[in-house]
Symmetry: C2
Subunit: 505 residues, 2 copies
């Protein structure tokens, strides 16, 4: 844990003790601060960068008050507030990070996160035994997530509002004794107060683990309200000004293993493209495997297992017709197809993975991606739509994304449908002869053919770097479309069967 080293002291002890400000001085400071904040917000709006402000902290420190205040001080049209409390079914059926992805700010804007990604973490770290497990897995996930966003221009300001035990007691007592305000101190607040030391200890553990050099915590004393508000405002102002200047620290070219090793790993060349299926054998196999698939998709539905199917392949490899044979085996109410083209204006306002999170399947449902996030390391790499450091770091980002799917129990099948360049030419020419297929052939298709070797290199590297036992690639022998379809149906059945049986056991 990078953040933890050199951070062994008590994080809360070093907090600046509160200075009481007079109401006159406070008002003057607020006037200046608000003008500066608004100016910074306007400047931020002109950049492709965005800011997440996490307001976390001790009960009674005034997280809600601070969030109200920021909504008052800033222009609310460039701002959204998200709490991750008591979420709907929609969210709980998706992988854990889904909630955060849909709360991301678009470029030029701010999101305020109530409690952020740490409320659950602190609760689970109150138990000593789960602490080291958390540090070793979840914490790394958070770090990778924050780093990925940072490299994409989303800066995370993490504010912890601290309150000592006696101050917390005093604040709760004051509220309880005020007949007009006693409703603000809940029974839950008192319960937490009695566990103050446990919670404080757990919070400190989590804060230390997530105190990354590029995204450190700002711990502020909250015992004096006006001082607290000014401090939060100043911290945000400084963060916005830094972000606008855009000093992007620490963007390194990702270090990947040398490509030499890759050349010995040419997955495409190992595929036997001569494999065929004849008409009758194909018809029988098709019905047989579609029937199995159909049953298994319903069994997965009954067990709330979601499925994600990814189809990639050369132009004219037969993705579309293969997908049709798969959907022919799924009840139309269970699946949706997502055709991935160039991103829309809205999608461009976010990290490139954002648009793939949105349509992920709910429990028991199926999402079929006709092209996918792998575009980043295929077309975007070859056509230079993505910078080298962008597609190079995408492998790890994709692996982390798929890990999120898997950890939620999703069945994930990834297909690369492979054909020879000769077969592609043959199909292009056939398409030109059929009126309703002619629109499928564009100048771009012919241009892409010329880049066959560059694509081949990208495909091999993609398979090499994103193939794992739990998220394996299936390279499909596509020269014979019928053979390819059966190979795909068989693979899907195998994965579903494993998941369904695992779920039973």
């Amino acid at each position: 844990m990078k953040g933890a080293t050199g951070q062994q002291e008590d994080m809360f002890r070093s907090v600046t003790p509160p200075k009481k400000i007079g109401s006159k001085a406070y008002e003057q400071q607020v006037i200046d601060l608000r003008a500066d904040l608004l100016k910074a917000q306007i400047d931020l709006g002109k950049t492709p960068r965005s800011i997440i402000v996490t307001i976390a902290g001790v009960d009674g420190a005034g997280k809600g008050e601070v969030i109200q205040l920021l909504n008052e001080w800033l222009d609310p049209r460039g701002l959204e507030t998200h709490s991750f409390w008591n979420l709907e079914n929609e969210v709980s059926q998706r992988p854990y990070q889904w909630r955060y992805w849909r709360a991301l700010p678009p470029r030029g804007r701010l999101s305020i996160w109530f409690g952020g990604m740490y409320t659950n973490a602190i609760a689970s770290c109150t138990q000593q035994e789960s602490r080291s497990k958390w540090s070793q897995s979840k914490c790394k996930e958070i770090q990778a997530f924050e780093e990925m966003l940072r490299l994409d221009g989303t800066i995370h300001l993490k504010i912890w509002l601290h309150l000592g035990k006696s101050e917390q007691r005093k604040r709760l007592k004051d509220l309880t004794e005020n007949p007009k305000l006693h409703w603000r101190a809940t029974r839950e607040d008192w319960k937490h107060h009695n566990l103050y030391d446990t919670y404080s200890d757990a919070a400190q553990h989590v804060l230390k683990c997530t105190h990354f050099p590029a995204a450190p915590w700002t711990v502020l004393d909250a015992s004096e309200k006006s001082q607290r508000d000014i401090s939060v405002g100043k911290a945000l102002l400084a963060c916005m000004e830094r972000t606008v200047k855009g000093r992007r620290v620490g963007i390194l070219q990702p270090t990947l293993e040398p490509s030499k090793k890759l050349q010995h790993n040419n997955q495409l060349d190992t595929v036997d493209l001569s494999q065929r299926l004849s008409g009758k054998a194909y018809q029988n196999s098709l019905l047989e495997w579609q029937a199995r698939c159909h049953r298994l998709f319903w069994e997965a539905y009954d067990r709330s297992i979601p499925t994600v199917l990814v189809f990639e392949g050369w132009d004219a490899a037969g993705k579309g017709s293969a997908i049709k044979r798969v959907t022919g085996a799924i009840d139309a109410r269970l699946y949706r197809i997502v055709c991935v083209g160039a991103p829309t204006d809205e999608e461009n306002q976010f990290h490139y993975l954002w648009r793939f999170w949105k349509p992920l399947p709910a429990a028991g449902r199926v999402t079929i991606f006709d092209r996918s996030w792998y575009g980043r390391v295929l077309v975007e790499r070859v056509e230079k739509f993505a910078k080298p450091e962008e597609w190079k770091r995408a492998y790890e980002e994709i692996n982390a994304f798929e890990k999120q799917l898997l950890s939620q129990g999703t069945v994930l099948c990834k297909f690369w449908i492979h054909i020879s360049p000769e077969k592609q030419m043959e199909r292009f020419q056939k398409r030109l002869e059929v009126p309703y297929k002619r629109h499928k052939i564009t100048d771009e298709d012919w241009r892409n053919r010329e880049k066959w070797p560059a694509y081949e290199e990208a495909i091999n590297e993609m398979i090499h770097r994103t193939d794992s036992p739990s998220a394996p690639w299936t390279v499909v022998a596509g020269n014979n479309k019928k053979f390819a379809r059966i190979q795909i149906l068989k693979t899907i059945c195998g994965s579903l069967k494993k998941a369904v049986e695992h779920h039973k056991g």
Copy 2:
């Protein structure tokens, strides 16, 4: 019921009897049809119009097969398929029509609806006693909804796939006896078959009631598959070609009552703007009413009652500061604020109400609209962003929208914060003196002042036409901000209290 008149005969008897087509002829027809469909789809993409295709019909008629086929024949990138089956919590917590609003096609595109808005209707109409109730309420809702979309350029093609009782039996039997396909005939299918006459009767009732001149049903015989597919394709092609040509039939200037009556209904002039609250009395009232609100919002949460608060008012009327006093009384986890500005590019792809459906609150939550759908009949009317026939029909559309909210039990409060022109001038000048408020005053604000009488007319008409006992307007006396805030808090408390008590009883 307009659709019902002159439609008393058996709708299913008049269906064209199926002609068997040879496979050769079928293939040739498909080639031509697909080319035409693709061309029409490309043309549609260039228009601001869109198409909904509902595929409904008898079990076993092949609704799923037809949808698969349309996905195959059309370019899937301009197409989305929606089934409204076993919906997530997210949907069931929102007003009934929410599911359809989020399945609307953006301009230039198609949505295919599996079963459409009629599956539940038919099931409920199998019981004779609920039939007339349905015809009198739900059916009118559907008609208004379709008409609203049509006027906005969304055409609804409604296809019913018919299958006689004996053909249905035969089809189910064939499937059951085929060892490879028997999974396609479910136990549910047989159950429905045994109730064939009841269902057919109910379906006929629903079809007749929703057979509107501008959005009629196309009933097709589905007993012969290739004929069925060709018929569906041709019906869609004809619909697309009509839509592209854009012969918009029947757009009439909405007939509104004469405005004379309106002049006697000047709501704004009846408000006593001299009402005030002094510092101490205000402070006490504020704390008291915030405390009550806070408790009531939690009680509403416990009872799953959603709340929608609408804030409209003159520039500088104090909407923002009033909203802050309201949010100060709601737990930050329960509410969200939606600031309504000019629509985004994405929002412009849909009916103007679309963007207000999206953020409606889930059960127990609160959405606060800072400006709202009433912009249509205020700024869009006065500034001529909307055509007269558009804002004139908006009153009824808004009433139908709010009726949807109310029928789901939503608490709805609508505030117009009223001030005098002199008070506005005074506040504008004060704002110019405060650095962090200066940005709030734009040239537009000064221009708007000149249109005061036009706005006054629009406001009075808005209140007159959209005020009802269940969705009342509260005109707030805003010259004294403190008085206004207390009036707003009191009103919200009153509405919440009524809803909570009603829910208890």
